[in-house]
Amino acid sequence: MNDNWEVVIGLEIHTQLATKSKIFSGASTAYGAEANTQACLIDLGYPGVLPVLNGEVVRMAVKFGLAVNATVAKRSVFARKNYFYPDLPKGYQISQYELPIVENGELTIRDEDGREKRIGITRAHLEEDAGKSVHEGFGQATGIDLNRAGTPLLEIVSEPDLRSAKQAITYMRKIHSIVRYLGICDGNMQEGSFRCDANVSVRPRGQEKLGTRTEIKNLNSFRFIEKAINFEIERQIEVLEGGGDVVLETRLYDSDKDETRAMRSKEEANDYRYFPDPDLLPVELDEDFIEYVRKSLPELPDAKLGRFVEQYKLKPADAEILTLSRALADYFEEVAENTEAAVQVAANWVIGELAAALNSEGIEISDSKIEAAALAGLLNRIADNTISGKIAKEIFDAMWSGEGGADDIIEAKGLKQITDASAIEKIVDAVIEANPGQVAEYRGGKDKLLGFFVGRVMQESGGKANPGQVNEILKKKLSDG
């Protein structure tokens, strides 16, 4: 990146709150319904209808505020943002303007150099989502689906503290993790539950005054956001170095061409004529309510990570992966708590085999084909020497395919490890006898050949001989000769 220029980025993240009904009406918020089957008269802005606030939405916003150390407003007000667009049935969006429900929060990220960096969260406010416009398939018309109109959104606005696309992504991932941890948003970017607008500007390094910014709208994948921001930074630098000015405007990212394109001048969309919505009263929260919500907060990602490192003596890198989602962390802990195997073993299996299995099918931990208790059971069988680690992997695959629990499979496939010393000795003797050449070489000093013998013994035993014992007995017998 160009050293003469400093990049300034602020993110506005729109999270759809995971309520059953809409923020101001009792219509369903479920994803994927047929057009306009979840748009009631209130969502449609019919004459005479009135909004009534969904209490769960307030609780969720407060949870978020507490999780990012913000001030939760004891009094917040809904305001109308007035503009005309077909996906906005009332001709205004109910949002919050001067008195949002959450203000002055923060969170910490690690920047590219691994240093901790504080990112300020200016505010988080509640508002209703608009509907969807479909521009293809209706000839000279656009089709409007208002199912989404009225879905609750929490808009999270960061201070312009981010200095690179990488930092922006890190911050965004952290918010993504937090809202999922809190259970207030499912974070599903394909379905539009988690969307981001990026405000990007550049300024000569050392200058205090901010450069003119552009807003890149409706980015819905981490990869695209990073590319879009980087493209925009380059573009702005190019414009400025060429003697031009950056225009204050809204831009869209074209992922096919990997470029941003001007959408409409931000000026034109501007006069929203905000005023407090007279159909709604100020939301007043008392200390008791806020405390009640505080008590319901789960352990947050950072705290959990720290605890995992301390309590389970895990490497920070491992702990970070395990705490990516609350569900994964809970899964891991359930396994760790229910197995006699070392915690590190549990961690390795969750990070390794389990993650690979989930990824191969593109499913979430909550849809795992092996429950935590079952995995713990498998690890127990390694710990008590019933099976070897290698066999355990086979059993894992069988369990994943639904063939039953660890014990059932061990029984059915006769995979019990051979630990009887005399049985192993018999096999070892047979192998030694069958390979006199290699025996001589080994005895002659070629220590590496031990592996060959071990392999042979394992093969003869169908992989079931206890590797540790095999090693021991082989060494003894080979050196005895």
């Binding site: 309520t19 059953k20 009904s21 009406s25 009792g26 219509a27 369903s28 319904a33 047929e34 057009a35 306009n36 089957t37 979840q38 748009a39 009631c40 008269l41 449609l44 009534v52 606030l53 969904n54 209490g55 769960e56 939405v57 307030v58 007000v77 005309f84 077909p86 416009s133 479909v134 521009h135 209706f138 000839g139 000279q140 018309a141 656009t142 089709g143 409007i144 689906d145 208002l146 869209l252 959408m263 006069d271 004529r273 407090p276 007279p278 709604l280 009263l281 100020p282 939301v283 007043e284």
Partner: protein, 95 residues
């Protein structure tokens, strides 16, 4: 102070109203008179006064998070002039 034609045209656009040329002057005149009339408010001393948004000092009641509205699309869409496949239609918008 009277409003200008441009100002009135701008307001009409914000409000999505179409003013015919013939009526523009009359509208400018009437709106100017109204603005003049309400300018009386400037004389009031309101330094330490809080704006009133509601006549009664109440706070917002909260509703339980429940789905209470069934799908009534077909019945409701009878009121719309242009509907196709359950979508409301407007002239094509290019973003």
């Amino acid at each position: 102070m009277p409003l200008t034609r441009d100002q009135v045209q701008h307001i009409a656009t914000l409000a999505r109203l179409k003013l015919a040329d013939a009526e523009l002057d009359d509208v400018v005149d009437k709106l100017s008179r109204i603005v003049d009339f309400v300018d009386q408010l400037q004389a009031a001393r309101t330094d330490d006064v809080l704006p009133m948004a509601h006549p009664l000092n109440m706070s917002q009641r909260l509703r339980a998070d429940e789905v209470t509205e069934p799908n009534e699309r077909d019945r409701i869409q009878k009121n719309a002039s242009r509907v196709e496949d359950g979508y409301y239609l407007v002239p094509r918008v290019i973003e």
